[in-house]
C-alpha cells in the first residue's frame, strides 16, 4: 500500500508538469495560428484602385469623400461621382483595372460593390460630421494612410458576423488604437479621454 502511494505521489510531482507546459505552449501557438483561419475569410475587391493615382489628378480627398448638403457623409462615392471624370466621351480606361471598371460597371451603369474596410455594424450610429467637423479629427486618425496607397489591401471579413476584420483589428491580441482597430472599447476610451458622453444611446440609437 505504501509503495503504491509513493508511486502516485511521484506521478503528480511538480517535476512531471512539463507535459502540462508542453500542451499549453503547443495549443497556445496553435490557437494563434488557427484563429484567423477559422474566423476570417477573404473577399476580393471588384478591381484594384489607386488612391495615390487619383490624388494626383484631383484636388483633395473631399472631392470624392465629401459632406452632403444635409450634413451626412458620402463615404465611398457612388457611380455618379466617378462619372464626373470617367464620362461617356472620355471613360479613361487604359490600365487593366480601369478597363474592368469601364466595361463592367460604367458601361452598364452598375454601382461598384466595394468592400468597406471600416464599415461599422448596423447597430452603430456614427456621425462623420461630429468627428471631423466638430472634433477636428483627421481622416487618417481612424482610417490610416489609406489615401497614399497604390493598391487596395486584402479585405477580410468575419465568417460569423460578416463584419470587416478592420473593426476588431488585424492584431489578434486586442491591443493598439485606431487606425489599427475600431472596436467599441476604442470609441469609449476616446470619448472618456475627450470628456464626451459615452452612454449607450450616444452611438446605439
Amino acid at each position: 500500500m505504501v509503495a503504491q502511494k509513493n508511486e502516485k505521489q511521484r506521478g503528480w510531482s511538480l517535476t512531471s508538469w512539463w507535459l502540462f507546459l508542453l500542451g499549453f505552449v503547443v495549443f497556445l501557438l496553435l490557437g494563434f495560428w488557427i484563429t484567423p483561419i477559422v474566423l476570417y475569410a477573404e473577399n476580393p475587391q471588384p478591381f484594384q484602385f489607386s488612391h495615390k493615382l487619383h490624388l494626383e489628378d484631383i484636388e483633395s480627398c473631399d472631392f470624392c469623400h465629401f459632406f452632403r448638403e444635409d450634413g451626412s457623409y458620402s463615404g465611398i462615392p457612388g457611380l455618379d461621382k466617378c462619372k464626373d471624370c470617367h464620362n461617356e466621351e472620355d471613360p479613361i480606361g487604359e490600365t487593366v483595372e480601369e478597363k474592368v471598371f469601364v466595361e463592367k460597371y460604367l458601361a452598364n451603369d452598375k454601382p461598384v460593390p466595394w468592400r468597406v474596410y471600416s464599415e461599422q455594424p448596423p447597430c452603430v450610429f456614427f456621425s462623420h460630421a461630429a468627428h471631423v467637423k466638430n472634433a477636428g479629427f483627421e481622416c487618417s486618425e481612424c482610417h490610416g494612410d489609406h489615401g497614399k496607397t497604390d493598391n487596395l489591401r486584402v479585405y477580410q471579413y468575419n465568417r460569423l458576423t460578416g463584419y470587416s476584420r478592420d473593426i476588431w483589428g488585424w492584431n489578434l491580441i486586442p491591443l493598439g488604437n485606431p487606425p489599427d482597430r475600431m472596436k467599441m472599447d476604442d470609441c469609449v476610451k476616446c470619448h472618456r479621454d475627450s470628456g464626451v458622453r459615452d452612454a449607450c444611446f450616444v452611438c446605439h440609437k
Partner: protein
C-alpha cells in the same frame, strides 16, 4: 517517463489552458455574441444620401415631402413621406394613406411591377412592349374589321386631368361610343349646375364662409383635399363660424359641428327645401329666384309640399331647429349650403343637389364671398386641347356615338345591357378603376368581366379587377412618373399641380397617360392625326403649362402649383332664359320618385343600409395599406377580420339582437356578415357599414379583412339624369346565433 493516463491528462489540461489563453476562444465568444445581433429578420436600414423632394399625391391632393435614400449600391429608395407646409392646400398635414405610400409602393402583393398576360388561364409576366403589342393587335383588329363599337373603356371621371383628356382623344379617334366614367359627385354637380344656372364649374367658398350647412357631406371623412378641409375646419373655429351638419349618424364631422340635425336617412334634401320654403314664405328670397319665370309656381309648390310641420315629421327634426338653422343661414352675410358626395361613397342624389343649390339661390349667395361661386378656369380649359367635347381630332365617331359618350356615366346600366346581350362588347379596357370592388354592383361587374372575351386593366395594384383581366398594364405610382393633380370636388378655386418622377423602380411600369399614348402610337396614323402633337405625358404637361403662359422648366424648379381665385360678382346666369331654372318639372318627377323609394323600403325591409366613410379605411380609389389596419379600433374591425356595423339598439331590440351579435345583412343583390355594435349615435332604422374593407386581393395582410360594403349595395338608375344612385339600400338583418363581445 511513460506516456500513461496521467501524462495524457497533464498534456490535455495544458492544451485546454493554452487554447483558452490564445485568441481563439475569447474571440469566438465575442463573435458569437455579436452574431446573435444579426438575425435575418431584423431590418437593417441602408446607408446613403437622403434627399427631401416635394410632390403631390393626386389621389388625396396632399402636398408631400418625399424622403429619397440614394444608396451607393442599391440605388434610390423611398423611405418616408411627410406633409409639406409650403403647399397651398392644407397646412402641412398628412393622411394615413399618404404616410403609408412607401409601404404600398414596396409591398409586392399590391404593386404591379411587370405587365401580366393571361393565356389559357395561366398568368405570366411579359415586357411592357410585348403587353402593349397584344392590346394594340386586339384593338387594331377590331377597328379594321369595323367593330370599334365593340370596345368599351371604363375610367375615373376627372375632366381636368391629362389622363382624361388623352383617353377622350383616344376613344374619339378609335371610334367607339362606350367611354364609361365611374359615377362621381363632380358630374352630378356639373349636371345640376348647368341645368339651374347654366354653369358647370361651381364651387362652395368654404374658406370665406361664416355659416355653413352641410347636407350629409362627410367633410372630415375624405372630402375634396382632406388635409385642406382640416385646415378650413380649424379656421372656422378660429373665426367663430357656425357649422351645421345634417346627417343621420354622429360621424366625426357631426361631432365637430356647432349644430347637428340627425334627420332620417335620405331626408337632407327635404330639409333643404323646407328651409328654402321658410325663407321664401318670409319674403326674403333673393332676386335671382324672384326673377325666375316659374317663381310663383315654385313658391306654391314649396308651401304645399315642404311645410315645416310636415317636413319636421317626415325628417324627424324639430320645427324649431329647422327654423333656427334656416334663419341663421339667411341672416349670415357669408353663408353657404353644401351637398355631395354621399356617405355611401356615392355621388349623392339629384334631389339633394337640386334642393341644396336651390337653397343657395334662394339665399342669394351666388357669386358672393363665402357663398356658391364659379371657379375661374385655366386658359387651357377653354382650348380644344383640354375640352372633353369630342369635336376635335380625326376620329371616325358618328354623331349618335358622340351623344352616347357625353352622357355615359352609368356603368351599372351599361353592364346590365351587356349581360342581357343588348350591347355586344368584345373588349373592355379599364383605366385606373376597380369596379369589381367598388361596384356599386360588384357581382354584376365580376360577371361582366368574365363574360367579355378580352379585358385589359391599367392599374397600379393587382386589385380585384386586375385579377380578372387578360392583360394587366402596370400603372406607375405618382412617385415614379409625370402626372397632374387637379381641382378637388366643388372647390371654390381652381387648382392645378404637377408631380414628377422621383424614383425609377422598373422600366416595365408607365404612367396611365403613357400607356394611352402607346396605344395611340400603335393604332393611329399619328402623322395624319393632328390631335396628338406630343409623345409623352411630360410633353403634354409641358404644352399645358405653356398654354397657361408659363415656362415649364421654370415652373418645375419652383415646384409648381397653380391656383386661380374664386370669381366673385361674376355669377352670370347662362341658362337659355338668362334666369335661374328652379327645375320645377324635375322636382315634380323626383318628388314622386322619392315616395316610391320610401314605400319600397318600408314595405320590404326592416332597415336601410348606409356606409361609413373614413380616412382610416381607405376609399374606393385608394386601397388601404397594411399599416392602416393598425389604426382601426374594435368598433370597425374586431377579432382580426370581423367587420363591425353600427346600429341603434332600438332598431333591433324587438328582434332580440344583442350587442356583438353576428348577423347576415341581406339586400336584393347580396349578403355580408358582420357583428352588431350598438350605438346611440345613429338613427333608428339604419344600419351603418364601414367602407373600404373586405378586399379579396392584396395578399396576407389585407385580404379578407372585414367584408366589402359594396357587395350588398343595390343601385338604381335615376329617372331624370340616368345616373346611378345608391345612397340607401334596403336590407334585412338575420341572426346567426353567435355573440362575441368585441369591445
Amino acid at each position: 517517463m511513460n506516456w500513461d493516463r496521467r501524462a495524457f491528462i497533464k498534456f490535455a489540461l495544458g492544451a485546454v489552458a493554452g487554447l483558452h489563453v490564445s485568441p481563439l476562444v475569447p474571440k469566438l465568444m465575442d463573435d458569437v455574441s455579436i452574431w446573435t445581433q444579426n438575425w435575418s429578420w431584423v431590418p437593417v436600414s441602408e446607408k446613403g444620401e437622403v434627399r427631401s423632394k416635394t410632390s403631390i399625391n393626386p389621389r388625396t391632393l396632399t402636398g408631400v415631402k418625399v424622403k429619397v435614400l440614394n444608396s451607393r449600391v442599391s440605388g434610390k429608395r423611398i423611405i418616408g413621406l411627410s406633409g409639406d407646409s409650403s403647399f397651398s392646400l392644407g397646412n402641412g398635414g398628412l393622411l394615413a394613406s399618404d404616410a403609408s405610400v412607401p409601404q404600398k409602393f414596396y409591398y409586392e402583393n399590391m404593386k404591379v411591377t411587370t405587365p401580366v398576360i393571361r393565356k389559357k388561364g395561366v398568368r405570366g409576366q411579359v415586357s411592357a412592349d410585348e403587353a402593349l403589342e397584344v392590346v394594340i393587335d386586339r384593338l387594331r383588329d377590331l377597328k379594321q374589321s369595323g367593330k370599334s363599337s365593340r370596345v368599351a373603356f371604363f375610367a375615373d371621371y376627372n375632366c381636368q386631368s391629362i389622363v382624361n383628356e388623352l383617353l377622350v382623344r383616344f376613344v374619339s379617334m378609335y371610334g367607339t361610343g362606350h367611354l364609361i366614367f365611374m359615377p362621381s359627385a363632380e358630374r352630378m354637380l356639373e349636371l345640376v349646375g348647368e341645368s339651374m344656372f347654366g354653369r358647370k364649374s361651381l364651387g362652395f367658398d368654404l374658406e370665406n364662409s361664416q355659416y355653413i350647412i352641410s347636407f350629409g357631406t362627410p367633410f372630415l371623412e375624405g372630402y375634396g383635399s382632406p388635409v385642406n378641409m382640416r385646415k378650413i375646419f380649424v379656421d372656422w373655429k378660429n373665426v367663430g363660424a357656425t357649422f351645421v351638419q345634417i346627417e343621420p349618424r354622429a360621424s366625426i364631422t357631426a361631432s365637430q359641428a356647432d349644430i347637428w340635425l340627425p334627420c332620417k336617412p335620405g331626408k337632407e334634401g327635404v330639409l333643404a327645401y323646407a328651409m328654402a320654403n321658410l325663407i321664401v314664405q318670409e319674403g326674403k328670397a333673393s332676386s335671382f329666384v324672384k326673377k325666375a319665370k316659374d317663381f310663383d309656381s315654385f313658391r306654391k309648390f314649396l308651401s304645399e309640399n315642404y311645410d315645416l310641420d310636415k317636413v319636421s315629421y317626415e325628417a324627424d327634426v324639430p320645427v324649431d331647429e329647422i327654423k333656427k338653422v334656416a334663419r341663421g343661414f339667411m341672416e349670415s352675410s357669408k353663408a353657404v349650403a353644401v351637398c355631395g358626395p354621399g356617405n355611401s361613397s356615392d355621388p349623392g342624389t339629384l334631389f339633394n343637389f337640386m334642393a341644396v343649390l336651390t337653397l343657395n339661390a334662394v339665399k342669394g349667395n351666388l357669386g358672393e364671398p363665402g357663398g356658391l361661386v364659379v371657379r375661374e378656369k385655366f386658359s387651357w380649359e377653354n382650348s380644344d386641347r383640354a375640352n372633353l367635347d369630342l369635336s376635335f381630332g380625326n376620329g371616325t365617331i358618328s354623331a349618335k356615338e358622340k351623344k352616347e359618350i357625353r352622357n355615359n356615366f352609368n356603368m351599372y346600366a351599361f353592364a346590365k345591357e351587356v349581360l342581357e346581350d343588348r350591347i355586344k362588347i368584345d373588349t373592355i379596357v379599364l383605366v385606373d378603376c376597380n369596379p369589381v370592388y367598388s361596384g356599386p354592383r360588384t357581382k354584376m361587374m365580376e360577371k361582366l368581366l368574365k363574360k367579355v372575351p378580352f379585358v385589359v386593366s391599367v392599374s397600379e395594384c393587382m386589385d380585384e379587377t386586375s385579377k380578372l383581366a387578360d392583360v394587366v398594364l402596370p400603372k406607375a405610382s405618382f412617385l415614379e412618373c409625370w402626372g397632374d393633380a387637379v381641382t378637388p370636388y366643388a372647390s371654390a378655386r381652381s387648382f392645378y399641380s404637377v408631380h414628377k418622377p422621383l424614383i425609377r423602380e422598373s422600366l416595365q411600369v408607365k404612367s396611365t397617360g403613357d400607356w394611352i399614348i402607346g396605344l395611340f402610337d400603335g393604332i393611329c396614323d399619328l402623322e395624319k392625326d393632328s390631335s396628338l402633337s406630343f409623345r409623352s405625358v411630360e410633353e403634354a404637361l409641358s404644352l399645358r403649362i405653356s398654354n397657361m403662359g408659363d415656362d415649364f422648366e421654370k415652373s418645375l424648379k419652383r415646384e409648381i402649383w397653380l391656383q386661380k381665385n374664386a370669381s366673385y360678382d361674376e355669377f352670370d346666369i347662362k341658362t337659355g332664359t338668362g334666369k335661374v331654372n328652379l327645375l320645377l318639372d324635375v322636382l315634380y318627377k323626383k318628388y314622386s320618385r322619392m315616395s316610391d323609394v320610401e314605400n319600397l323600403i318600408d314595405r320590404d325591409s326592416r332597415v336601410v343600409m348606409m356606409g361609413i366613410p373614413s380616412l382610416r379605411t381607405g376609399s374606393v380609389n385608394v386601397p388601404m395599406s397594411p399599416y392602416q389596419l393598425k389604426i382601426l379600433d374594435e368598433t370597425t374591425l374586431a377579432f382580426k377580420d370581423r367587420l363591425i356595423v353600427e346600429v341603434n339598439p332600438s332598431t333591433v331590440y324587438e328582434l332580440g339582437f344583442e350587442n356583438g351579435e353576428m348577423v347576415r345583412i341581406i339586400s336584393a343583390v347580396g349578403e355580408i356578415r358582420a357583428s352588431l355594435h350598438f350605438s346611440n349615435g345613429v338613427r333608428p332604422g339604419v344600419i351603418f357599414v364601414p367602407i373600404g374593407l373586405g378586399h379579396t386581393a392584396f395578399g396576407l395582410y389585407l385580404k379578407n379583412k372585414g367584408v366589402n360594403f359594396f357587395d350588398v349595395v343595390d343601385v338604381y338608375t335615376d329617372c331624370v339624369t340616368g345616373l346611378p344612385e345608391w345612397e340607401l339600400t334596403p336590407v334585412n338583418i338575420v341572426k346567426m346565433g353567435e355573440v362575441n363581445d368585441h369591445v
